[in-house]
Amino acid sequence: MKPLPAISLAHPAELVVSLVTAVFTPWIAAGIALLIGFFASYLTALSWADLTFVLPATAFGNVIVALLSRFWLHEPISLARWAGILLITVGVGFVAHGPSRTEIPAELETAREVIAK
């Protein structure tokens, strides 16, 4: 957003033009496409795994962002942040070792099939 001119709320017509221009800027368009991809993958994961499995696992994205900013953007990372990266990695390792979905008892499954029929 930084190379774009400041967006003004004073003239609604200009606001719409500014927003449309922003959406078709290559970096923003790529960002929106990636966010749509994220949401689609997230929904697919939720369709076969528990929320309490998916949420801690997706928190690993924070670690990737921190490592990218360290090695790509050469930003400094404090000791507390390295500790945070370590804790998230250990947490994701913990949850990933367990089952991804709560097993539904057989009789409940049968009841569901009866209802579905």
């Binding site: 004073a10 801690p56 947490g91």
Partner: protein, 139 residues
């Protein structure tokens, strides 16, 4: 009125109670959104199976015809706007880590209560470790 690029003039910070209420609103809306979305996806069933049977269009139709899904997305949108509201009054260094880490714990509780998920010791440990980790990383 100009947006962004110029830092706002710092005003007086809200009282701790008001600040806690703003963060609580973000956490509550976000948790409700996540739980409703997860419930919707569970009721729809495995999207990979649906896609194998009815193709990509069938999978998209299954999602967009589920009212629970829209309730979830509505709550997530509300969480986003309450986050913007909180950021308008509070410091980013307080709101971002507090809301991100608290949401993980409230989701574990809500998952156990509302989605009847088996939150065992392993998942509790993971939720708490990731919660502290996100706090340290975002602070």
């Amino acid at each position: 009125m100009m947006l962004a690029l110029t830092a706002p003039t710092p005003g007086p910070l809200p009282s701790p109670l008001t600040a806690a209420s703003m963060i609580a609103a973000v956490v509550l809306c976000s948790t409700a959104g996540e739980v409703l979305t997860a419930a919707a996806m569970k009721s729809i069933g495995d999207l990979d199976d649906i896609r194998a049977h009815s193709g990509m269009k069938g999978a998209i139709r299954a999602v967009v015809t589920c009212p629970l899904f829209f309730a979830g997305v509505g709550c997530l949108a509300l969480a986003f706007f309450s986050l913007l509201f909180a950021l308008n009054h509070l410091n980013l260094s307080l709101v971002a880590p507090a809301s991100a880490s608290l949401t993980l714990v409230t989701n574990a509780v809500a998952g156990k209560i509302f989605l009847k998920e088996n939150v065992d010791r392993r998942r509790w440990t993971a939720a708490v470790l990731v919660c502290i980790g996100v706090y340290l990383l975002a602070h």
